[in-house]
Amino acid sequence: MLDMVTVVDVVLLALLSTTAVAILIMRHLFAVVALTGAFSLLSAGLLVTLDAVDVAFTEAAVGAGISTVLMLGTLALTRRRESRPPRLSPIGLLIITITGGALIYATPDMPKFGDPNAPSHQHIIPSYIKGSQDDIGIPNIVTSILASYRSFDTLGEVAVIFTAGMGVIILLGRRREDEHGYSEDGAAYPLKDKNKPKINDETST
């Protein structure tokens, strides 16, 4: 009897590559957006079968949630069909084939999935696992690594995310408007003004 998780893995990977090829071939950008949503949900499913639940969370939230919205927003500003790409350059194709071949050639040298003797599990992790209970006293080893052994690293990450969030708020945050619909600096059009230029006037009827 085949291991069911393996079957699920194989089928998910097959669907993933089908989606990728379809995205490449399609010229209708709306269909491409729908398919990229399906693509990232598929890869999130694959990450769940690999037990990388936190990565899968991020993939689903960013890939399927936010990216779909962002790409649709872009689609509202551009044309709905992709223009014909320029002709394939043979040198680029050659370079990509060689690089891809080298990567595939290197794959069997990687340690097996979950191998306890893999170099990444031998370097400093054993001392973390042994010392965590005495050093920090938290039962969850992941938490003690993130919050104590690598706390400065985590602090830096939090600072980066905070800066990015502030940047987004400054760039995209709505201007405050008074009750007449004018923004504080008086530059924006009042909301109720019928002469306000609309980008997509013909679709609003």
């Binding site: 079957v7 989606t19 269909a31 398919l35 399927a64 779909t68 919205v69 909301l191 109720k192």
Partner: protein, 96 residues
């Protein structure tokens, strides 16, 4: 039983994906993208029970929520051809 359900779900996913690729109209594609998300949610739930860790069900719930955001955005895009409208502007357009 779980295995039969998983196999059926995988076949259904392949069929949905086919409709997303081939689907003649845009609405076929929206519908297939949406139901594809639903099937991933079901698959993650089933995987939890297959590997005897039913706590995966929480993740499936979160996926259901995320999937909803995408569908709402697609539908808003269809209706208004624009995602940046505030509720006031939408009310304006409904009046016209």
């Amino acid at each position: 039983m779980l295995i039969a359900a998983t196999v059926a779900l995988l076949i259904a996913m392949a069929l949905t994906l086919f409709r997303a690729v081939a689907g003649p109209s845009l609405f076929d594609r929206v519908l297939s993208a949406n139901s594809f998300g639903t099937k991933i949610v079901l698959l993650i739930g089933l995987l939890g029970f297959l590997t005897e860790r039913p706590e995966f069900l929480d993740i499936a719930l979160l996926y259901a929520l995320v999937n909803f955001v995408g569908t709402i955005a697609i539908l808003k895009f269809f209706r208004y051809r624009n995602l940046g409208l505030s509720s006031d502007e939408i009310a304006n357009r409904e009046d016209n």
